[in-house]
Amino acid sequence: MEADQDHVDWKETVRRLRRDRLRLATLIRETPRRGRASVWFSPSYTCVLLYRLSHYLYLKRHRLLARFLWHLNVGLTAADISPVSDLGSGLVVVSPAGVTIDGNAKTNLTVMPLSGLGGEVGSRVDVGAGIGLPVLGDDVYLAPHSGVLGPVRIGDRVRLAPGVFVTRDLPDDTTVQPFSIRFFKRSHLR
């Protein structure tokens, strides 16, 4: 059971970080003893750690410090995760470079390389994450180059295929299919 955003205290932050580490260690598929050090120094965990700290400081109204950690995260891991975003435990960012997250999500969000959440410029709709920002359910999977844009609600266990951008609400257990491709022989192009 996740705490509300207003109740994300230090204890809750540490609990979420522990769940993040455990989920990442599961993905790394190492023995627990070796996996521990491997997780701590992984860019995936570094970006989540800096985000959690910045989010905690933001809620404690240390806005300047929160912004510093946010920018440190951008400079160090190239992941732009806003401290305003409320992301549940079990967050895994596989390759942080180029990932942008601005919105809310529940537990076990998986963010693949160069995917993300974002707002819609000019929108005045608020579905719970802030003006123009999306809200995601549990166990959402964002494939590479995919994203969710605008004030939309995404249900639980939704999987986005590579290259897909969603701009409307999606129910639970939905899989969004990828775009199809075409093959040409190189000799036909000459």
Partner: protein, 181 residues
């Protein structure tokens, strides 16, 4: 040896250096270029990985990530002549032949959340494959030699040799655009 061929390919492909020729001075200058720094760190991490110094290999790969934002796993096996015109954001976990070109923010890897899984779960690319900008090749697929993956293509199936793969929404590369008048 692989690194020397990487630098040679970089010098031949880079228009700025091509006019000046492949001189020793240019080769030394190439070593401090971010493309080659990225390739050097990958080659070093792969060498350490092959020598079973896994932790050191992982450390070098993470240094590559934090310095240049390039995520090439040390287990990945890439042939000679690797070219990364814009290394930032490039992610690779798989196997490839000689003269691989990975353009900006291209992704090659397994089709599930991977960090350090076997490279067999990633794609197998032939010789002289070009992966376009923002393209992704996911899963244990095989891409034939001399194939070009166009920009923004998300490939999750085998591709034949000497092919051009484009997104279906794109115009056919062979057809000409009708001009008014």
């Amino acid at each position: 040896m692989s690194l020397a061929l990487d630098i040679t390919r970089y010098l031949n492909q880079s228009p700025g250096y091509q006019a000046l020729g492949d001189t020793p001075k240019r080769r030394v200058g190439a070593v401090v270029h971010h493309q080659i720094v990225c390739v050097i760190l990958y080659r070093l991490s792969h060498y350490l990985y092959v020598k079973s110094w896994t932790r050191l290999a992982r450390t070098v790969a993470r240094l590559n990530y934090f310095l240049l934002k390039t995520n090439i796993s040390p287990a990945s096996c890439i042939g000679d002549g690797l070219l990364l015109p814009h290394p930032a954001g490039v992610t690779f976990h798989g196997r490839a032949g000689n003269d691989l070109t990975l353009y900006a923010v291209s992704i090659c890897g397994p089709n599930h959340p991977w960090i350090e899984c076997p490279v067999e779960a990633g794609p197998l690319l032939g010789d002289r494959v070009t992966v376009g900008a923002r393209a992704s090749i996911l899963g244990p697929v095989t891409v034939g030699g001399d194939t070009r993956i166009a920009f923004r293509v998300d490939l999750q199936q085998d591709a034949p040799a000497e092919a051009v793969v484009v997104a279906r929404s794109m115009r056919s590369p062979g057809e000409s655009r009708a001009r008014p008048g």
